[in-house]
């Protein structure tokens, strides 16, 4: 009975196995990125970037139909353009990154909507907006796995400057020129993972599998390494449970995954070891030293 509910769907249906593989790949790469987004106070930047890649994906869709590969390429180009332009303007003028990004993503969004309304229909764009993790073909799954691998490799390379830049950017500037490139590489990783996520969750929810697990991890550890591990596990568990939920109840898969993550988030906010509400209300007697 429990086997039928929790494991059966995956042994029985290939599309469920593909979906599970995809969601685990997304968790492995996206959650660490989400942790850094959160710690750098850029959580909403992820959301803005998700809007920025939408037009690129739409253009890809218009040019070559419902090819996930073309939409990915389009999304990557639009996302990179916006991320890098915003980063360069912020770094060279002293304008705050969020203001600079807001300008560019709004421009990108307007441009994309213009292109779509002039040229296309918007029926299949629903697919882009909300994704469909149950429709993964081999090629798409490989793209997702490839992007996740690239993300982890690049993150390993820029990890040290990224951490130092997050804590003390001025110090990094005085000892090294790695800060700028590391920051841009990080923005690029954000884009790659958003594009990666929108095949499964759609552009609007893709950022959810990055930010929610990071928020969860924040309530369970004060240590960066542990936070990243917790975030990955939380993302993978949400993915798996969301797929099961979606299979059993016909809730659409993308929202199901994010809703499960939201449940975990609420539990963490209430009962988390680090700053959880219950723990704050019932802190226990104060210590001796």
């Amino acid at each position: 009975m429990i086997y039928d509910a929790l494991i059966g769907p995956f042994t029985e249906f290939e599309f469920m196995r593909r979906a599970l593989a995809a969601v685990i790949a997304l968790a492995l790469a996206g959650a660490p990125i989400g942790v850094f987004l959160m710690l750098r106070r850029m959580s909403l930047v992820g959301d803005a970037m998700a809007h920025a890649i939408l037009p690129g994906a739409a253009v890809g869709f218009l040019l070559s139909g419902l090819s996930l590969f073309a939409m990915t390429a389009g999304g990557l180009i639009a996302g990179f353009a916006v991320a890098i332009l915003a980063g360069v303007v912020a770094r060279s003028t002293g304008l705050k990154e969020d203001a600079s990004l807001a300008t560019f993503y709004l421009a990108s969004l307007a441009l994309g909507v213009t292109i779509v309304s002039i040229k296309g229909t918007n029926i299949d764009l629903l697919h882009v907006l909300f994704g469909n993790i149950l429709a993964m073909d081999d090629q798409t799954l490989l793209v997702v796995a490839f992007n996740a691998t690239v993300t982890l490799l690049v993150l390993a390379v820029i990890y040290r400057p990224l951490v130092i830049e997050s804590v003390d950017p001025l110090f990094l500037r005085t000892v090294s020129r790695a800060g700028g490139p590391a920051h841009l590489a990080f923005l690029a990783l954000v884009v790659i993972n958003l594009v990666n996520g929108f095949q499964a969750l759609g552009t609007l929810l893709a950022v959810g599998l990055m930010i929610l697990p990071a928020g969860i991890a924040r309530f369970w550890s004060r240590d960066l390494t542990k936070m990243i591990c917790i975030a990955v596990v939380a993302a993978a568990v949400s993915g798996y449970a969301g797929l099961v939920l979606s299979f059993q109840t016909r809730v659409p898969s993308g929202p199901a995954i994010i809703l499960v993550a939201t449940m975990l988030y609420i539990v963490s906010v209430l009962f988390g070891r680090v700053g959880g509400i219950v723990r704050q209300l019932l802190p226990g007697r104060h210590l001796e030293a």
């Binding site: 710690l39 390379v157 040290r160 400057p161 951490v163 130092i164 997050s166 804590v167 003390d168 950017p169 001025l170 110090f171 500037r173 005085t174 000892v175 090294s176 790695a178 550890s221 004060r222 240590d223 960066l224 936070m227």
Partner: protein, 251 residues
């Protein structure tokens, strides 16, 4: 080690000078206090020296020092104290020059980091997240990082602000140790008593240089009054600077 040279240096923001036509030289191994009222350009000068602010005019010669041979402790560090990093890891970033992107932290390096933390009197704090430190403890941590940077030129911007006397004494002892090791130390300071007692050379800055030389000769009431009189506001409609005119006035 070579000297630090300023050739007619003007540093500023938006074309408005904050340090105006400064020329001079800091000998290797000197212990220099930079004093002046708020807005005199002390921080600006130090930022120019470490290279995060480009001179509007003139040149600063580091005398062959690489940018990484400079350890800089800013006045209001842009440190995100909420970031989950331990004292040990934070101080360890001072080894950047040796480790770079990938260099491992081996046994010797760990010893060095622990040694630096001990030198600033923070034994037992190694695994504490930096978010749990007090202001004075954080300043000790920053000094520990400067210590690890092992730099030929050490630039401290008001390092003893909001720090109690015990901590000040401990950190001042470190500054003197660096001086004893032959490193060049520049510090922006407000405590005249400390400058008089511990710093051999003093630069009185009030946008332009007011006086520069051995502390005993420079730190006179007359010089300080001249410095205090300096006007603080930028003149929005200031004309382009006629350099000769100004430098004769400064002299």
């Amino acid at each position: 080690m070579a000297a630090l040279h300023f050739h007619n240096v003007t540093l500023g923001y938006d074309r408005h000078p904050a340090v105006h036509h400064l020329s001079g030289e800091v000998a290797p191994g000197a212990l220099v206090a930079v004093i002046g009222p708020n807005g005199a350009g002390k921080s600006t000068l130090l930022r120019g020296i470490v290279g995060i602010l480009k001179p509007l005019d003139g040149t600063i010669h580091l005398g062959g020092l690489d940018a990484r041979d400079i350890a800089y402790l800013p006045q209001s560090a842009e440190i995100d104290r909420s970031f989950p990093i331990s004292v040990f890891d934070f101080v360890g970033t001072g080894l950047w020059r040796a480790t770079g992107l990938f260099g491992g932290i081996g046994k010797a390096a760990r010893e060095k980091i622990l040694g630096a933390i001990a030198s600033v009197g923070l034994n037992g704090f190694e695994n504490r997240p930096i978010s749990t430190l007090s202001g004075g403890q954080m300043q000790r941590v920053l000094f520990a990082r400067v210590l690890l940077q092992d730099a030929g030129l050490i630039v401290l911007d008001e390092p003893f602000n909001a720090v109690d006397s015990k901590t000040t004494a401990d950190l001042l002892a470190l500054v003197k140790r660096w001086h004893g090791e032959g490193r060049t130390v520049l510090a922006a300071l407000h405590d005249m008593e400390m400058v008089r007692n511990h710093f051999t050379e003093t630069l009185v800055l009030a946008r332009g240089p007011v006086a520069w030389g051995p502390t005993a000769e420079v730190l006179t009431p007359e010089n300080l009054i001249v410095a205090m009189r300096m006007c603080e506001a930028f003149d929005d409609s200031a004309a382009a600077c006629a350099a000769d005119d100004i430098s004769s006035r400064a002299a």
